[in-house]
Structure formats: structure tokens, C-alpha cells
């Protein structure tokens, strides 16, 4: 009797373990498949030229996406200028200053904004900037990406700041330190790693956005010389090349996708290492 009982129990335990393993594998496999497929299709086209030269016209061999890679960094820089200060300060407000009611409202709005499809941001910025200035431009693209970053960073910053134990705030205030100094020198300093992580993850997230750039940054086959001109970006270039009917452009699109995914992968791994070496709280 005990024998059959324990056997059945082991079978159940084995079934549940197998099911969990299967689900875990299902979660991980897309990443592996995507990466493997990109490597197979794109690796052959990733070479020195890809990183250093401009796109070539159809039919001409060689050529690269140097302008798109530079453009992506340019757009990320602009987006960070808007998204990081606003997002971090907003997170500070939520965690350190706001009262319960406004906080509830702000969190609710941020969560809704986080769920807004990114193309909507493109349209908003198109209306706000592109229509007013009558030109696609790098800063319109940067603003669109920055808008996407703001609610992301607000929420993650708030969560990181809430992890700072209240005892540190009280200790600082009990020394007669003014509240804003306490916030800057104690709370933000303690949570710095967490905030850097939040910012990097937000940057990695918007680095892959295509839709908000379609009618803001627009894309450009040449170097961008002014923030008022359209600018290329990796996702945009991939999009343009992928929907073209030319085989060599397809190969370039695969290579671009591989580079983009690798960049995001590297940022994520860097963030993991940064947070693992000493945890967010350093304790």
C-alpha cells in the first residue's frame, strides 16, 4: 500500500517537473531560434565594411550600414537627453515626495503610457514636431523615443528607490540634513546602480523601435549632418531592406538585424553583470 502510494507520488512529481521544464524550454527557445537564425543568415554579411561604409545602390556589391549604426546612437543620445532626466526625476517624485492620491494617478498614467503602441508615439511626435517644422528630423525621432522612455524609467526608478530602506532616510534627516540633500546624497546614491540599470534597459528597449521612427526620423541613405535632417537608424534600415525585392539588400537586412540584436544582448548582459557584482542595495 505504501509502495503504490509513493510510486504514484513520484509519477506526479515527475510529471509536474517535466511540465515546468517544457514550459521553461518554450520560453527560452524563441531567443535561441532567433539568434541562431540571425547568425546563419546574417553572419556572412557582417564584416568590416558593414560597420564603416554607407549603403551602396542596388546591384553594387559591398556597402554597409555605418550611417544607420551612428544614427541609432545619435537617436538614443537624444532620447536619453529627454527620457533620463524626466524619468528619473519623475521616479524620485513618486518615491520621495508625492502623496498617495497623486502617486496613484501618476502610476496609473505611466502604466497606461507604457502600454501605448509605439507607433502612436510616432504619430504624436509627427503632429507635434514634423508637421510644425515641415521636415523629418533626427530630433523628432529622438523625442519620440524619449517619450517612450519616460514612463518606463519613471516606474523602474520608483521601484528601485523604494528598495532603499527607510532607515537611511531617517538617519539622514535625524542629522538635520535638508530633504533634497538627503534625496540626492543618500537615496539616489544608494540606488545609483539600480537607476543605471533602469536607464540602460530602457535604452535597449527603444533601440529596437521602428514604428515611432517611420515618420519622425524617417531614415537616410547618407550621413546625417544636422539634427534638423532625417537620420538613418538600424531598425529603419532593416525595415527598408527587408521589404525590398533585392537579394543583396535582404542579406544586409539580416546582418543589420544580427548587429541590432547583439547590441541589445550586450547591454542586457552588461546590466546583469553590473547588478550581480554588487546588488542594487550594495548590501
Amino acid at each position: 500500500m505504501t509502495g503504490t502510494f509513493s510510486k504514484w507520488r513520484k509519477v506526479k512529481s515527475g510529471l509536474v517537473s517535466a511540465l515546468c521544464f517544457l514550459c521553461a524550454a518554450l520560453v527560452i527557445s524563441p531567443l535561441g531560434l532567433v539568434f541562431f537564425h540571425l547568425l546563419r543568415e546574417g553572419a556572412s554579411s557582417v564584416n568590416w565594411n558593414f560597420f564603416t561604409s554607407l549603403p551602396k545602390p542596388v546591384g553594387e556589391p559591398g556597402g554597409g550600414m555605418a550611417n544607420a549604426i551612428a544614427g541609432t546612437f545619435e537617436l538614443l543620445g537624444l532620447a536619453a537627453c529627454i527620457g533620463v532626466p524626466t524619468g528619473v526625476l519623475g521616479g524620485v517624485y513618486l518615491s520621495e515626495y508625492g502623496n498617495a492620491r497623486t502617486n496613484w494617478l501618476l502610476r496609473f498614467i505611466c502604466d497606461i503610457l507604457n502600454g501605448v503602441p509605439s507607433i502612436i508615439w510616432g504619430i504624436v511626435v509627427y503632429g507635434l514636431i514634423v508637421l510644425q517644422t515641415k521636415t523629418f528630423s533626427a530630433y523628432a525621432g529622438g523625442v519620440a523615443l524619449g517619450f517612450i522612455m519616460i514612463p518606463l524609467i519613471i516606474r523602474t526608478t520608483e521601484e528601485v528607490l523604494l528598495l532603499v530602506p527607510n532607515g537611511y532616510r531617517e538617519a539622514a534627516l535625524a542629522l538635520g540634513i535638508a530633504r533634497w540633500k538627503m534625496t540626492v546624497h543618500v537615496v539616489l546614491k544608494t540606488a545609483l546602480k539600480g537607476i543605471v540599470t533602469a536607464v540602460l534597459l530602457a535604452l535597449a528597449r527603444v533601440a529596437g523601435e521602428t514604428a515611432p521612427l517611420l515618420f519622425t526620423a524617417f531614415g537616410n541613405r547618407f550621413w546625417n549632418h544636422s539634427l534638423r535632417d532625417p537620420v538613418a537608424a538600424l531598425p529603419l534600415q532593416i525595415f527598408t531592406y527587408a521589404i525590398s525585392p533585392y537579394d543583396d539588400w535582404h542579406r544586409q537586412a539580416w546582418a543589420g538585424a544580427l548587429v541590432l540584436v547583439s547590441m541589445i544582448f550586450v547591454v542586457n548582459v552588461a546590466v546583469r553583470m553590473l547588478t550581480r557584482s554588487r546588488s542594487v542595495m550594495a548590501k
Binding site: A174, G176, I177
Partner: protein, 284 residues
């Protein structure tokens, strides 16, 4: 913190309870000593819940006053009123007055930061700032209050660490992180941090409750040393500790001050039955 958040109601003598009257009839145990804190008609609410009722007490200067009582009796709340730390809790509200050497701490023009400069605090859980070294932890109060002079800061750092009986243990490791110290050392580091800004009063909220007996003994020795220069108010759950290191003892029960007097008196011959019951361990 906006002082306007705390409505200061005029004192209402008719609200005085029997307990307050009993307390005010106490012989001025501080007669020979200057009065540091003069607390009158103190009542505190968290939201709708009142946690301290019409408390009146005079805490003498340059001595150690212990506050004892069962959990939830308002000891910590009372202590936090003395340096306006209770204001940090949302919905906290108080009435009555607290004077420190004659200065009203709750006057509308008084900046709570300045109150806290005069009345330092050490907490139950040691909390050195994790991003700062041992040395930085000690002088952070001065530095963030605008002191720039490096030699002055170093001087104060050494002085505070010596007073906290920590200097010999850490003088070669001032650049190590504050949280690398042991629990007892961390608590002494927090005491050093509090005395580095040279307050007039040090409040201690169960400073030894997380420490082993040896570290506790060190802190108690330290308290004994510090009372030469400072007025110390200590909340403790440990009756032996109150008996060992305090000159005066206040017994709180259910938000009311039951009895206040010289520690020997409270522990050997209290006026109130409830005090005796608590001290002899019949409840609480």
C-alpha cells in the same frame, strides 16, 4: 516638512486627564538639574488613532532618561516627537508643546532641520550609509550641512569616533565601507555620526535590541561616558538596561505617562501599582 502640516491647537487645560495631573504632581526630580525638554499636554495621533495622551514631563539635562513600557505604549512615538521625526509619518498629528531649553520646538517659524541638528538620534537598527566609508559616515552630517574645511572635518571625525569608543578599532580602516563593520561597531558608528554634528541631545530608540551582550555592554559604557556632555533619552525594552544606565525613568502604558522619577525610586519603590507590576514582570 511644512510646519503648517501640524495644526498647533491652543492648550486646553480642561482636557487634562487624571494621569497628567498625577504626573504634574510628581516631585520635580530634576530640581537640582536644568530641564532639557519641557513637554506639556502632548497628544499624538496617527490618522484617527491617538497614541499619546496629554503627556507632561520634564526631562533633565546632562543625564540619562530611560523610557520603558510594553510594546505599543507610545515610547518610540514620544521619542520621535522630541526631534520632530514623527512628522515623517503620513497623517501624524500632534498637539501640545515641547520646549528644549526654553525654545519651542514646534513654533511655526522653526525649521525641523534645525531641531534635528540640536536633537540627534540613534535608531534601533544600525544604519550606516552603505555608499559611504567609515570616515564619510561620521562626517556626513557636517558635510551635507555645508562644512567644507577638510582639517576641521578630520578633527571632528576623530573626536566623534573617540567619543563613540570606536577610534582604536577603525583608525586604520577609515576608507573601508561603513557596512563592513560588525553589528555592534555599526551601532557605535551611528552614535559617532550623531555626535559629530554636536547636538545637545541624543535620542536612542532601543539602540541595543539587535546586539549581543558584549556589544550592548560597550554601548552602555558609552552612554555612561556621553552623559557628561550630552542629555540622553533612551527607549528600551530591557528593564535591566534601564536600571543599569539611566538616572531617570519614565514608564509609559497605553499612550499615557504613568510615572516618572529617579530610576532607583521607580525600580525599588514606585508610586503606581502598574509600574511595579510591569517592572516585576507581571505584565507587558
Amino acid at each position: 516638512m511644512n510646519p503648517a502640516l501640524l495644526p498647533m491647537e491652543p492648550l486646553a487645560p480642561d482636557r487634562k486627564s487624571a494621569v497628567t495631573l498625577a504626573a504634574s504632581k510628581l516631585p520635580r526630580s530634576s530640581a537640582e538639574l536644568e530641564c532639557a525638554f519641557d513637554v506639556n499636554d502632548l497628544s499624538v495621533w496617527y490618522g484617527a488613532k491617538q497614541t499619546i495622551f496629554d503627556t507632561e514631563i520634564q526631562l533633565p539635562a546632562k543625564s540619562v532618561s530611560a523610557i520603558i513600557g510594553p510594546s505599543g505604549c507610545g515610547k518610540s512615538t514620544f521619542l520621535r516627537c522630541l526631534n520632530r521625526m514623527h512628522e515623517l509619518i503620513p497623517n501624524a498629528r500632534m498637539t501640545g508643546s515641547i520646549k528644549l531649553f526654553g525654545d519651542d520646538l514646534y513654533a511655526p517659524t522653526v525649521d525641523p532641520c534645525l531641531v534635528r541638528r540640536r536633537v540627534g538620534m540613534v535608531f534601533q537598527k544600525s544604519n550606516p550609509f552603505p555608499t559611504m566609508s567609515i570616515g564619510e559616515n561620521v562626517i556626513v552630517g557636517l558635510r551635507l550641512n555645508g562644512v567644507r574645511n577638510r582639517s576641521f572635518l578630520d578633527e571632528r571625525m576623530e573626536k566623534a569616533l573617540r567619543m563613540a569608543a570606536l577610534w582604536d578599532e577603525v583608525k586604520n580602516d577609515l576608507n573601508r565601507p561603513g557596512i563592513s563593520l560588525s553589528g555592534g561597531q555599526q551601532q557605535r558608528l551611528c552614535i559617532a555620526r550623531a555626535i559629530a554634528v554636536e547636538p545637545e541631545i541624543i535620542l536612542m530608540d532601543e539602540p541595543c535590541s539587535a546586539l549581543d551582550p558584549i556589544a550592548t555592554a560597550k554601548i552602555e559604557e558609552l552612554i555612561y561616558e556621553l552623559k557628561k556632555d550630552y542629555t540622553i533619552v533612551i527607549v528600551t525594552h530591557n528593564m535591566q538596561q534601564a536600571g543599569r544606565c539611566s538616572d531617570f525613568t519614565a514608564f509609559f502604558y497605553l499612550g499615557r505617562l504613568i510615572e516618572f522619577g529617579k530610576t532607583e525610586k521607580i525600580f525599588t519603590n514606585p508610586n503606581e501599582k502598574r509600574t511595579e507590576d510591569y517592572i516585576t514582570g507581571r505584565f507587558g
